[in-house]
């Protein structure tokens, strides 16, 4: 090591800095691109469906909904956009965004690129909470309560999801370092215990409750209402406000808990924010749309390929990509066999499952 900065470095420094600035700008540009992509997906999903509505009518309906009466949308088109497609697309976007954000946070928090809310039992925990609410407190009564009922289901799901996340984290972290195998095994065990609990609830359920539960566990964003969208939006907002302040600490977190402390972050505070934020995002998505698998695994990987591992960019990129792609997947689910609708999880699992296998095969030397 040289005591004084080397002369060669001083000569090449301006050029080096320019290279690094260009790299940072490129990453920011890619982040903007994901935003544009999300917007395009949303427009596409509003445009197509059982009734074709052209882009001009979609836009004029949107403008009309905020009180400006311009453009050519007919009353029917306006109704379809604001009462049927609008809430459905919004719900889909929020579910995709929440699951992806939670996936990114959990992969970082558990230091495992493999982590997915579904794989480590967090979705199952949230699902059990929501199922308990649906069955023990009867769907019909819930339907009467309307928006409040969704809040109740969401809170129950959050309790289940939070418990599962904290438990898996506590079991799978030894001395501030994550043990991948232990965490995944704990997730399997947790999922089966929670599965048994949900099975018991099914045993208690009557026919109507069973139908609701079955559709709900397969995942769907159909039949959306604005009140449901509001609950999901508030949940995502809260989750972002917990996770985004952790973006710098989470970058260091990837090295180990000790390094987080050494760089002057509070390990305990960061851990609490991450667990609560990730559990909240998963639980809300599960409460609103059932268990939609693999979104939380796949989207952060794609986002990382685009903008890198820095959570300052990864969080927004994941959120936007996840929202956009889920809206797109839902568009496929409702148009591919129209007028019938395919369950959303069929599509996400069909894409996510093989992607997961690909990840395992590609990285099997370096993981475990």
């Amino acid at each position: 090591m040289n005591k004084s900065p080397s002369a060669a470095l001083d000569r090449s420094l301006p050029e080096l800095l320019e290279t690094w600035r260009v790299r940072a700008r490129r990453n920011s540009l890619l982040l903007v691109t994901t935003g544009v992509f999300a917007l395009l997906c949303t427009l596409l999903a509003l445009r197509f469906g059982a009734m074709a509505i052209d882009t001009a009518a979609v836009l004029s309906s949107l403008v009309k909904s905020i009180g400006l009466d311009v453009g050519s949308a007919t009353t029917l088109e306006y109704e379809v956009i604001t009462a049927i497609r609008g809430p459905r697309v919004a719900r889909g976007f929020l579910v995709g965004a929440s699951l992806s954000l939670a996936g990114a946070a959990m992969q970082g928090m558990f230091r495992i690129p493999l982590a997915d809310p579904g794989l480590i039992g967090v979705s199952a925990g949230a699902g059990a909470g929501a199922a308990a609410m649906i069955i023990l407190f009867d769907v019909a009564a819930l339907a009467l309560l309307g928006p409040l009922a969704w809040l109740g289901v969401s809170i129950a799901a959050f309790a289940g999801g939070l418990g599962a996340t904290a438990l898996v984290y506590a079991i799978g972290t030894v001395g501030g370092q994550s043990r991948i195998a232990i965490m995944l095994l704990a997730g399997i065990a947790l999922s089966s215990v929670v599965g048994a609990f949900t099975g018991f609830l099914v045993f208690l359920a009557d026919d109507a409750q069973l139908r609701t539960l079955t559709f709900w566990t397969l995942g769907s964003v159909g039949d959306a209402s604005w009140s449901m969208v509001a609950v999901a939006a508030i949940g995502l907002g809260l989750s972002v406000s917990l996770l985004y302040p952790c973006r710098y600490a989470l970058n260091v977190w990837l090295l180990g808990e000790r390094q987080v402390h050494q760089l002057g972050f509070s390990v305990r505070r960061t851990r609490r924010l991450l667990i609560a934020g990730a559990a909240l995002a998963v639980s809300l998505a599960v409460a609103v749309a059932g268990v939609v698998s693999f979104v939380g695994l796949v989207i952060p990987h794609i986002a990382r390929l685009l903008v890198g591992s820095d959570h300052e960019r990864l969080f927004p990129a994941t959120l936007l990509l996840g929202g956009g792609l889920l809206v797109l997947a839902d568009l496929v689910a409702r148009t591919i066999a129209a007028p019938a609708e395919m369950p959303l999880s069929v599509i996400t699992a069909l894409i996510g499952g093989p992607f997961f296998l690909f990840l395992i095969v590609r990285n099997r030397a370096s993981w475990m």
Partner: protein, 281 residues
């Protein structure tokens, strides 16, 4: 304390874990400009001592002071700008670029968008550790020695351009490095001390400790059993007691000593024929 000067001082620090003491009344003071070597068997408490000196673990009894002020009361960020630790393990399974790993160090000083000032410090640190050419590589694809140097560059970025008055604690930095890399790593420790930092290095290779440190401590079962010049702290009789092996000091050339270690059950006839300074009993 009345006297305020740069020092990191543990007073009779004891740490209990699971019903037993892993650090027992350890007292040590680190001063600027010196490299202190830490030796001792596995489980002697070296890592725990480093943890205590960096506020990673609060001692159950005793206290740790930085410049005469209790380390526990230091704000996290101020502490992070003064004390840096190179842990034994830094796992990173994510495809992060080397530059970004080194830039993590800046978070002890600035949080917000990366500025050119941060980049200059990162570039200087990487240059000093000869890893600048790796800056665009993905961290998990590096070799063990390269990863180690990148982590040291991260620590130097943490402390900033002026390391005087800073404390750098290396926890077994040369495990898993080849001989040349070991020398290079310890040269870095020396250079940091020459720039005014205080360096503590825990080492398993006692001969490297003899060559590269100004002062050595020997630990056993949670106690610091010797603290002094490398020659006295790592004297053969101390090593024989702590490690339960036979130790001789061989004089390779005038003034250059080398510790020769043997399994304690070997009998005298098998002793080597190097010129011996004699056994210290």
């Amino acid at each position: 304390m009345d006297v305020r000067r740069t020092s990191l001082h543990a007073h009779a620090a004891t740490v209990n874990r699971g019903g037993r003491s892993i650090l027992r009344g350890a007292s040590i003071e680190l001063d600027p400009g010196e490299v202190v070597g830490g030796g001792g068997p596995i489980g002697a408490g070296k890592s725990t001592l480093i943890d205590v000196l960096s506020a990673g673990t609060a001692p159950d009894t005793g206290r740790v002071e930085l410049d005469g002020r209790s380390l526990a009361t230091y704000p996290d960020l101020e502490r992070a700008q003064r004390i840096a630790v190179l842990p034994q393990t830094s796992s990173l399974a994510f495809p992060m670029q080397v530059l970004d790993v080194v830039l993590l160090g800046r978070l002890a000083r600035s949080r917000g968008p990366v500025r050119d000032h941060d980049r200059v410090i990162a570039a200087r640190s990487m240059d000093a550790l000869d890893v600048l050419h790796l800056e665009a590589r993905t961290y998990p694809t590096l070799s063990g020695g390269e990863k180690q140097r990148v982590q040291i560059a991260r620590i130097m970025t943490q402390l900033g351009e002026d390391v005087s008055g800073c404390f750098v604690l290396f926890d077994e930095p040369i495990a898993g490095l080849d001989v040349a890399q070991q020398f290079r790593c310890l040269e870095v420790a020396r250079a940091l001390a020459e720039q005014g930092a205080s360096v503590l290095v825990s080492l398993h290779d006692l001969n490297l400790a003899m060559v590269y440190t100004d002062r050595a401590i020997l630990m056993n079962r949670g106690h610091i059993v010797a603290d002094g010049s490398p020659g006295s702290a790592l004297a053969p009789n101390n090593i024989e007691t702590v490690f339960e092996v036979r130790a001789y000091r061989a004089e390779l050339s005038p003034g250059v000593f080398h510790l020769v270690l043997q399994h304690s059950t070997l009998d005298d006839s098998e002793e080597n024929s190097l010129s011996q300074e004699g056994r210290h009993d």
